[in-house]
Amino acid sequence: MIQALETINLGKRYGKDWALRGCTFKLPIGRVAGLVGPNGAGKTTLLHLAVGLLKPSAGSVQVFGEAPDRVLTRVGFVAQDRPLYRNFRVKDMLMLGQKLNPSWDMNLAKERLDRLAIPLNRPTGKLSGGQQAQVALVMALAKRPEMLILDEPIANLDPLARYEFQQTLMDAVAEDGLTVLFSSHLIADLDRICDYLIILSASQVQIASDIEPLLATHKRLIGPSDREASLARTHTILQVRSSERQSTLLVRLHGALLDPAWEVQEASLEDIILAYLALPAPFPFTIQHKGVQEAVR
């Protein structure tokens, strides 16, 4: 089956250092995926590889089954800091989009900007940060892409601008059934928008999975500290917080939990992400997409 994005053993090296290494995952068509990871984990490198700005040093990356630079027409990209030509008026930006994209939808662009009350005659450098982000997003949407790739699209925006940006994004997803891949530091926002999660840490993909099975298999357990060892035999303990006798664990369950000594609580997506980000690299395992196949290293 053709994936929106598929990487196999993908790597990018700058000089001696690997910015990204051994990265293998699939992003199925139609998902809205959040890409998270600490600074310097290789998120931007991965996204640049996916839009053909970078060429891999190792492995392969395919978008809709083809090389990224062959499907530029089908992918809308908003780079980090949402670059625009600052001395262009908004309508010049739209004209640029029309001249450089065969599938450009000028009506869609104007209608969306109109709805957001962004003046077409103003130079983009004189717009607010939130408006610039909206223009950048509308530029990507008016290409009529099948996939949107956004690099930290809501970083440095005030809460209202962030909310409005997400609203535009969600409207587009609802209308056109886009696949979306976006990186973010704001975990709380991911929860609201995403149904798919990719965790990148220490230059490697640690998780690429639908969020639902992630929530189903990750639980917070509270119980006696002396039972940790036996629990670890069948399940994976990601995080431990212990007092003298009692431990609070974040556990990835492999099958049913049999020991009744443990009290089970739901873990939030934020808890799970933070637990993974806090793990020392390299992780002991990776979870492939849908969270069913597991590879032990």
């Binding site: 640049h48 700005l53 530029l72 980090q80 800091d81 625009l84 004209m95 989009g97 290409k143």
Partner: protein
């Protein structure tokens, strides 16, 4: 892409248009003045033998040397300005503002983006400079007739467009490789001036081996005032080049004195010893051959900078 290029460079185009118009006016005004002086004073009908002509020529040169020098400086600076303000920021400003990530992820490849920009900017630059060729040639004609065609070599003919092409490409490549407009401008200034001067002073006199003229000591120099004198020296009977020290040792008459009498005695001494004046020169009929050679050198230099620049854009920039 043509529209995008126009939209991004229309201010530069406007400034270039104003500069070009100003230049055309200046050249026309001074050209008319120089031509009419040349005609009305009778210089046009002069042959070298008439003593009155020498005076006319002297007056003409005194009167116009300042304006000719100023125009020469202006014209030879123009290519550098093109390299600095159009070339260097072309890619570097995109990199600085990160807009390359916007424009290279639209539906056209970055090579087509770069190719269109290069083609349009190089084309327009060359057209503008080539359009000036006839006007500059008309403006300098009287001056060239009075002095030497070589005196306006750098602003007349095809070398000026070649300098402009080179400066533009150098600026573009410097901007790409340094990734910053200001650094690109700095590199462009330094390299352009260095290469221009190196070629003008070290290579141009020897594009072809200079001709040699040996003349009597009291008539030094090349056979004609239209030749380009490259080097002049004194030789003895065997053809050996003599240093100034040796000459003043043999003929000390002029030492410490600057009057005409001492000079005449000095020359008489030199002639007595059989010394001759030897000149190396390039004749006037090599003017266009030299223009072609020098233009080719700058064309090759432009290619030498363009290739790594384009390669860098295609492989190294993200």
């Amino acid at each position: 892409m043509i529209w995008v290029t126009w939209r991004q460079h229309r201010i530069e185009a406007l400034i270039a248009g104003v500069v070009l118009a100003g230049l055309i006016i200046i050249l026309l005004v001074l050209g008319i003045e120089m031509t009419s002086t040349y005609q009305s004073t009778g210089l046009a009908n002069c042959s070298e033998q008439l003593p009155a002509c020498g005076e006319l020529e002297g007056n003409f040169i005194n009167h116009f040397s300042l304006s000719v020098n100023l125009i020469t400086i202006m014209l030879t600076t123009l290519p550098l300005l093109v390299g600095m303000f159009i070339g260097a920021p072309l890619v570097a400003r995109e990199l600085e503002q990160r807009t390359h990530r916007l424009v290279w992820t639209q539906s056209i490849t970055r090579m087509r983006w770069l190719g269109t920009k290069l083609l349009l900017l190089i084309g327009v630059t060359l057209l503008a400079f080539i359009a000036l060729i006839p006007l500059i040639a008309w403006w300098s004609a009287p001056w060239d007739a009075v002095t030497s065609p070589w005196s306006t070599y750098e602003v007349r003919g095809i070398v000026l467009p070649a300098y402009a092409l080179f400066a533009l490409v150098l600026g573009i490549a410097a901007g790409i490789l340094s990734r910053r407009p200001v650094a690109g401008i700095g590199i462009t200034i330094v390299l352009f001036i260095l290469l221009r001067l190196a070629i003008a002073f070290w290579l141009r006199p020897y594009f072809l081996p200079p001709l040699v003229s040996i003349s009597s000591i009291d008539r030094p120099g090349a056979p004609s005032h239209t030749d380009w004198l490259i080097e002049i020296g004194t030789i003895d009977r065997t053809g050996q080049e003599l240093s100034n020290n040796t000459i003043s040792h043999i003929c000390p008459q002029i030492i410490g004195k600057g009057d005409a009498q001492a000079f005449a005695a000095f020359q008489a001494c030199e002639q007595q010893h059989g010394f001759h004046s030897r000149s190396f020169y390039q004749p006037a009929d090599r003017f266009w051959l030299f223009q072609v050679i020098e233009s080719s050198i700058f064309l090759l230099l432009a290619i030498a900078f363009l290739v790594p620049g384009v390669w860098f854009v295609s492989k190294k920039l993200t």
